[in-house]
Symmetry: C2
Subunit: 283 residues, 2 copies
Amino acid sequence: MDLQAYLKKRKSIIDNALKKYFLKSADEPSSINTAMKYSVFAGGKRLRPILCFAACEICGGNPKNILPSACGIEMLHTYSLIHDDLPAMDNDDFRRGKLTSHKKFGEAVAILAGDGLLTKAFEIIDPKVVREIAIAAGTKGMVGGQVADLEMEGKRKKEKGKLEYIHEHKTAKMIEVSLKAGAILSNASSLKIKAISNYGRKIGLAFQIADDILDIIGNKKKLGKTGSDLKNKKLTYPSIYGIEKSKEKAKALIKSAKNDLKIFGKKAYIFNELADYIVKRDF
Amino acid sequence: MDLQAYLKKRKSIIDNALKKYFLKSADEPSSINTAMKYSVFAGGKRLRPILCFAACEICGGNPKNILPSACGIEMLHTYSLIHDDLPAMDNDDFRRGKLTSHKKFGEAVAILAGDGLLTKAFEIIDPKVVREIAIAAGTKGMVGGQVADLEMEGKRKKEKGKLEYIHEHKTAKMIEVSLKAGAILSNASSLKIKAISNYGRKIGLAFQIADDILDIIGNKKKLGKTGSDLKNKKLTYPSIYGIEKSKEKAKALIKSAKNDLKIFGKKAYIFNELADYIVKRDF
């Protein structure tokens, strides 16, 4: 199967499902609906929900059972981008070539759009995986990673331990749980859930390393923003290991991730493609 | 039973339960733990979790079954205060006589402490009531109320419809769901759940009206802040109806709320006391 066609088809299913959660309602101020929709439909690739979808498919589950949770995960991802871009955080004006939420709607609305998406996610995520996903998104997951990231900004002493913590928590935990939730909701065996989670954590780390590299070698056209990591003196893989060693690290993680899925035999094919896609993206 | 003793006992149980959710962990930056704990233990009366507790008791449930959800509701309340106080929102320096989170820890940590609490809430709330509580907290509930509140700030045209929307959504929905969740988790009949929810919505509205009045006649010592509603030209009950008429409205709501609980007979006694307490607080 062609990976691009695979991604396109699933992205379209997810986009359609997402739209239904943002219909106008008399019981919701239209301004907040507009702001949430703006960021949710600002050009995201839907990587996390696609991974949730793929995990469901490889475990023989019914995609209908995971679709609300996959959409909830995308809402969590979007909220984290809105809040990360705020002036008090990374202070980014653009994302994917479009104005960030606070630049478009003002800070108050951006904060509330993030809060609204974070809350809406838990309205629609399947109760069976709410706890799992909340842990991955919280202070022992994504929020914790963002806190550590901000704390290391501008520090001259580069700590490898902190770098690992940031990458594992800021990015990998949510990617891992996207896959894990897909497997759990498809009633997969604990062996399969474990294998898929391991794969997820590793490609998640590789994804963040690739992102760090892109931040340096990418340009405004490709990313829609210019290296704000450099501007903010962030602790990144290339800043400690250099670009070449970072690439090697990402490749080793991808190889190990693929290995985790050998128990699925030929069915793992698309996961191998996905793993390669995640690091190759733009370099 | 003496209301003050009743409140004190339940507050102490809730405080002890809450503490356990904020033990230090190696997997969480200690700075965010400190910031979350600071706001959760900044002198809140625990009204919402106590109401959840009371609903459980009147329905003959086991308090152990509702305690995590009651704590989650308090975390949601605390997150909303942290974000409402931010410079981009109400811009308050003090709450209950203590520095607000962003004044104490900076804006970035305050935003993330709010996000962390909001997420942690859904980690611990019982899956059976997650959806219900997420709706009450989200853009068709508390977040929606805050958005409408900000939008009406400083507007010369006072709209009664908007005022009702703000009060119902910003405050009443969460108070209503606190009680409703306690009843649901105690396997109450739908008749009882409905009665308790109605009571909750009405005392929630009365609570917000009382808050508006306090903001005008209260002083810094009592509230720990000076009338920021007036400073921010908020749309409030007294600003439309005057203080006397607002008091009457609150009293009428309390009377009607008490009426809703007649089906519980003598057991409703403490709820009648609670309803009176909510509006009398400091005036």
